[in-house]
Symmetry: C2
C-alpha cells in the first residue's frame, strides 16, 4: 500500500492519497466538537466509510443538504446557517464537509461566514474535489445564473483526499475530475500529460499517483499565490469559456457536467492558444484528441454563441472591462492575463462546433 | 481648523476628523470605477456633501437600500449582489459605503463576498460608524433574531470619518455612538473618561477630539489583534449582555437603539466587574451615573430575564460552551476571557432593573 502525502502548512493540513483518512484519525478525534455536512449520497455511501475509519465521529450532529449544482445557492447557505444556529455551533466548532465540489464550496462558504468564521475541514468524496475544489480556499455559491458569484477565499483547517471514497463514484463525477487532471497536465506537468496520453479515464486502474500529482500541483500553486494575483490564474485555463458554457446550460434543461463544460472550454482556449502563442498544430490536435476520447461534445449552435459570450462579461477574471485568459505556450506551460479579442473567442467556439482540425481553420 | 488624523497601514487608509474628506479627494478620484451604496437618508443628506467635496464621484452608479437594523439581513445582501451583478461590477470596482453602522456592516459583507471579494471603502455618517462600526473589518448581517450571525472579518481599503456628516444626525444616532465612546473610556482611556465625566452628550460642543481619540483607540486595538484572539475582546465590554438585550427587543415591538442596549449592558457588566474584580463601589456608581445621565433605562422585567439569558447562548464570544466576558478592573482598564456564572449574569440584570446603588446589593 502507498503511503499518503502529508503536508502541514501554517494554515492547512493536507493528507492526500491511499491511507490518508487513517493517518488523519487522531487529528479529527482531537476537535472539541464536530458537525458533519453531508448530502443524500454522501450520507449513504461515504459517511459509513468515514465512521469506520474515525469511529470517534459517530456521535456528531449531521447537517443534510440536497446534492447538485442547482441547489448550491443562498437558500442552501441559509439552511446551513439555520442548522448551525439550531445546533448551537460556535466559532470553535468544526464543520466537516463530506462531499464533492458542490458541497465543499457551499459548506466552506456557510462555515466561513457563520459568526464571522467557524472552522471547516474538507473531505472530498469525488475526484474533482480531491484534485481541485477542496484545495485552495475558493468557496461560494451560485447566484442567479452566475457560478460562484457569492463567496470568498478562505482556507479549510484541513483537507483529506482519501481514494477509498471514489469506489462509489458515478461516471459523470469521474469525468469532471478528469477534466481538471488534464488541465494540470496542460498548464504545468508534462510528466502527468505523458501518463494520460492515449488513455481513457475509464481504463485507468491506479488513480493514486494521478490524484497525488494533481493535488500537489494545485497545492503548490495556491500556496504560492493564495489570492490569485499571479500564477494561480493559470488554473483558469479552459475555465473562462468553460464557466460561460456551464452557466449557459445551467439555464437550460440540458444538464451538462462541469467536466463537459471545462473540456469544451479547454478545446476552445487551446485553439486560442495556437493563434495567440503559435502553439504547434500537432500539440493542439493531441489535446483535442485526448479530450474527445473522454468527453462528449456539447450541442450548442452558432446562434447560441452571442448569449454564451455575454455570460463571460460576468466572469470574475475581468479587469477594467477586458477579458483576460490563461493560455498555453505549449503542453506543460501556461501564461496568464492575456487579453483576447471577442472575435477570437467567437472563432474558437466555431472551431469547437465545426469539429475542425488545427490546420483546417 | 483641526488637521485630520491620517494613518496609512499596509491594508487600510484611515482619515479621521475635521477635513478628512478633503484630504481623501485624490485617493477617491484615483479609483478606476466606484459604486456608492446609500440609504434613503444618506442619499438625501450625505451624498450631496460627498459630491461637493469629491466632485469626481458625481457620475458614479448608486445602489440604494432601506435604512434600519431590521433590513440588515440576507435579503438585503441579495439585493446588493443583484445590483452589483446588474451594474457589471468587477473585483476591482470600489464600493463606497456611505452610511451608518448598519449600512457599512451590510455593504462590507456584500462587497467582500461578491465574486469572492471586491474592494470597499467606508464613509461612516454617524458617530457610531466613525468611532466603531466602520473600523476593524467586522462585517455582517443579522440572521433570524441573531445580530451579525452571518458575516466575516474583512478590512475596507479605506475609512474616512468626516464630522461634517454629523450635522444631520438624529438624537438616537448620537446616543448609539456615545455608548461606544463611553466604552473606550472605560476599557482603555482614563483621559477620555475625564473629558466625559459629568457630561451629557447633548451639551458637548467640540466632537472632533472625542472622535479622533475614540477612533484611534479602536484602530490601535484592531491593528494589534485583527482576528479578536486577545486584546480586541476588551471591546466586547457591555456587549455580551447588550447584544442579548438588542436581540430580545428586535423581536418585540418596542424598538430600542443600539446605544440603549449597550448602555444597559455596560451597567450590568460593570456590576459584574465589581463582583469579579472588586472594582471600587465609587467607580461603579460613577459609571452608572454617567450612563443614566445619557440613556433611558430599558423596561424589561424579572420574568423576561431567562429569555434574555438564553439569547446569550448564541453569542459569538462563546468558547467550549462557556460565556466569556470582558470586564473592568477599574475605569480605564479591562480584561477579557473571564468566565462568568449564569447566576451572576442574572443578578446583574436584577441590579439593573432595581436601579440599585453599588452598596445596596
Amino acid at each position: 500500500m502507498n503511503s499518503p502525502f502529508i503536508l502541514d502548512t501554517d494554515t492547512v493540513w493536507y493528507a492526500i492519497g491511499d491511507g490518508s483518512l487513517e493517518k488523519s484519525r487522531n487529528r479529527l478525534a482531537d476537535f472539541h466538537r464536530v458537525i458533519i455536512l453531508v448530502d443524500e449520497n454522501t450520507e449513504k455511501f461515504c459517511l459509513p466509510v468515514l465512521l469506520t475509519q474515525v469511529p470517534e465521529l459517530a456521535s456528531c450532529n449531521l447537517i443534510r443538504v440536497t446534492s447538485g449544482e442547482k441547489n448550491k445557492n443562498i437558500a442552501q447557505s441559509s439552511y446551513i446557517w439555520n442548522e448551525l444556529t439550531r445546533l448551537n455551533a460556535s466559532r470553535d466548532t468544526l464543520l466537516v464537509n463530506l462531499g464533492g465540489g458542490v458541497l465543499t464550496d457551499s459548506g466552506g462558504f456557510a462555515a466561513a461566514t457563520f459568526k464571522r468564521g467557524m472552522r471547516f475541514l474538507n473531505i472530498p468524496t469525488t475526484l474533482l474535489g480531491m484534485v481541485d475544489a477542496a484545495i485552495g480556499g475558493k468557496t461560494g455559491v451560485d447566484f442567479h445564473d452566475f457560478k460562484n458569484q457569492v463567496g470568498l477565499f478562505v482556507n479549510p483547517v484541513g483537507m483529506i483526499a482519501e481514494p477509498l471514497f471514489l469506489k462509489t463514484l458515478e461516471e459523470k463525477q469521474w469525468q469532471s475530475g478528469f477534466a481538471e487532471v488534464i488541465k494540470y497536465a496542460l498548464i504545468m506537468d508534462r510528466e502527468l500529460w505523458s501518463k494520460l496520453e492515449g488513455n481513457r479515464y475509464a481504463e485507468i486502474v491506479d488513480w493514486n499517483p494521478i490524484i497525488v500529482k494533481s493535488a500537489r500541483n494545485k497545492i503548490d500553486i495556491v500556496r504560492f499565490d493564495a489570492m490569485e494575483k499571479g500564477v494561480r490564474k493559470n488554473l483558469n485555463f479552459g475555465h473562462t469559456i468553460g464557466h460561460a458554457l456551464e452557466s449557459y446550460y445551467l439555464k437550460s434543461f440540458n444538464e451538462i457536467t462541469h467536466g463537459m463544460a471545462i473540456a469544451a472550454g479547454m478545446i476552445c482556449e487551446a485553439w486560442i492558444s495556437s493563434k495567440v502563442f503559435e502553439m504547434e498544430c500537432t500539440q493542439l490536435d493531441e489535446i483535442v484528441q485526448l479530450i474527445d476520447a473522454n468527453f462528449e461534445r456539447l450541442d450548442f449552435e452558432r446562434s447560441n454563441i452571442p448569449a454564451i459570450i455575454a455570460l463571460m462579461q460576468q466572469d470574475k477574471k475581468m479587469r477594467a472591462n477586458k477579458l483576460l485568459f490563461s493560455l498555453l505556450r505549449k503542453i506543460g506551460k501556461a501564461s496568464h492575463d492575456i487579453e483576447v479579442d471577442e472575435k477570437l473567442i467567437e472563432e474558437s467556439l466555431y472551431f469547437y462546433i465545426d469539429r475542425k482540425k488545427c490546420n483546417q481553420i
